[in-house]
Symmetry: C2
Subunit: 375 residues, 2 copies
């Protein structure tokens, strides 16, 4: 199998499970993609990320183009070799982070000029340059260059932005060219407006992509509004291609998105939370810096098989967090990524078995119990 | 084998190789002990420390008594269980770090009172309290509580300090009591004065210990003065017990100490250097933050089998160091600890084979080549 394809194996309600085939390996869906911003999933070795069950990582075009630069990574053999991860990588287009991180942006029909948040140097991103960078990186799944307005925004602004993104999607497709084994994903925009989402989906279908993302969500609209949009947006996109919800999310966001027909997600939350002491378990969220854990000999989760839970007490994890030791970030990030991947594999099994509704009820019931009582 | 013992297997000149047997496992000598100050070898998981070849870790009484406290660690099952390291642990007595880190110290015949550098709380250390803390931690090799004057110091000050340390050594021995399977090591003092070192060794022999440390070196006297002292100090100590040189050192310090009859060493250098970008290879020292590595596809050392050298280019390691990513500390610490343990195993083999002089010539010749040329 040397080309990019998607097999849908089973559906349960609107939820789907299947496999994305790529020359670098299979991606089991629904899939959660850990974020490796600067060519590393923070506080993790790539082999450990794989051990958590990840089939694919996400890399950030914006960060990598600034440092160490896409040209340097290409000269060193591409991002996979550079960061020692031989499985699939998806890269974003850089557009979202230009808007959230850089200084002195100027947006035109052509693209965006901006100054680096690292050293103030001036750069340009356009559909053509974004495609070039993502090819230099060697990304397996390339994202169209788009514009993503923050919500709330008025309908007129959202409509004009969506139309610009659709013109950029066509330019991205043209610039990407014919690259067997690699995929280009279109990104649906249109905010929370069902008709604009529909127009965007139609425009993307006409261009034709190997996969489709629901963009412009998880930008401050809240879970209820996001789920409202996901009640129609995924089904506006082709059923025979992967559907990717960008930048989502918390565990219950992810479960709700999968229930609404999403196949792929990414989020910094499990890794970032690992560095701030926030821990995800089937009983919800706990914060390891809380004094209640100081003398607690129990693991984060008795049933978890990650190295943090197999080898260490809450008391130890509390101690190393307080002492600002790196092992705190290393173990908590590992645990959180493991938890997220367990969540995905549980959903995949339940969807395949046709028991996803019962699985969701169990998921919510376990969270409602909240963390175990202090000793 | 359920008791503490030392088998000397071979000597080559003054250099020795052998095995320390403990209920928690064997320690191959000459041994290098990575430092796990606050119940973690910084930036490493314990399993990874073991993979580098370490048979034993060092823990710091001063840090652990302040946070999370020895009593808390004891209640949680001891330091081994707390930090997930089931092999031998040596703890220092706390005396050295009280002098170097704490505030408002007051030294009397009884012991030392001081304020914590973390929160200003007041604490006392004495021979009896140090023994109690090290027992609470569950340390396999306990160090006598001593006083270590900074060098240079005048002979009179060094003599009085040594005599105090010898009285404290007797009190440490009495407080330690009879604990089969655990060892108490005496610490020779006396600065750079051969006769004072001899008197100290005599006093320690009379008390009787399971091992003997050469203390009071690597405190600013320089390598030449240290080697001068090591030309006589180890041989003043019993030949049938392990000899431990505290807080040493750079690779060439370690080789010179082994050549002078030292069996055990510890130092923060490989782990601390890993966090500051300083890398040890058989060709000496390199600094990964140097721009010459920015485009270099080669590993730190072509012949090294550590994960940093097997999976990553100098260019990658340069990038993640510059980007302040944790993986930089993780990989460089692993490499440095691996290098140190390879150094020890090379010396053990050479001493056993009676080829240590040739081994030393090779060691110095490889370092004289310095790092590989830039591309």
């Amino acid at each position: 199998m040397n080309k990019f394809s998607f097999d849908l194996a089973a559906t349960d309600g609107r939820a789907r499970t299947g496999t994305i085939h790529t020359p670098r390996g299979e991606i089991r869906t629904p899939a959660f993609m850990p974020v490796g911003t600067a060519a590393t999933v923070k506080a993790m070795l790539p082999g450990s990320v794989r051990e958590t069950g990840a089939d694919i990582l996400l890399g950030n075009t914006y960060h990598l183009m600034l440092r160490p630069t896409a040209e340097r990574i290409a000269a060193l053999g591409g991002l996979h070799k550079f960061m020692n991860w031989d499985r699939p990588i998806l890269t974003d287009s850089g557009g979202f982070q230009v808007m959230s991180l850089s200084d002195l942006r100027k947006l035109t029909e052509e693209g965006v000029t901006f100054k680096s948040h690292i050293d103030g140097s001036k750069h340009t991103l356009s559909p053509e340059r974004s495609m070039e960078i993502q090819e230099l990186l060697g990304s397996d799944i390339v994202m169209c260059f788009d514009e993503c307005p923050a919500l709330p925004a008025d309908r007129d602004r959202i409509g004009r932005s969506m139309e610009l993104s659709m013109r950029w999607a066509a330019r991205s497709r043209a610039a990407f060219g014919d690259r067997p084994g690699y995929a280009l994903f279109g990104i649906q925009q249109g905010g929370l407006e069902e008709d604009l989402r529909g127009q965007s989906a139609e425009a993307l279908r006409e261009i034709g992509f190997e996969g489709y993302a629901v963009g412009g969500l998880a930008v401050g609209e809240g879970q209820e509004a996001m789920f409202g949009c996901l009640d129609y947006a995924p089904e506006q996109l082709p059923a025979d291609k992967p559907r990717y919800l960008m930048g989502v999310g918390k565990p219950d966001d992810i479960v709700g998105a999968v229930a609404r027909g999403i196949d792929m997600m990414d989020c910094v939350l499990p890794s970032r939370s690992g560095r701030t002491g926030q821990v995800f378990t089937r009983h919800g969220v706990l914060n390891i810096k809380n004094a209640r854990h100081q003398n607690d000999p129990r693991p984060l989760d008795e049933d978890c098989t990650c190295p943090a839970c197999r080898g260490y007490s809450r008391a130890y994890l509390h101690h190393v967090f307080r002492a600002q030791e790196m092992i705190s970030s290393m173990l908590l990030t590992w645990h959180n990524l493991h938890y997220y991947q367990q969540l995905m594999s549980g959903m995949r099994e339940a969807i395949a078995a046709g028991t996803f509704e019962a699985w969701q009820a169990d998921f919510h019931a376990a969270r409602a119990q909240r963390d175990i009582d202090p000793l």
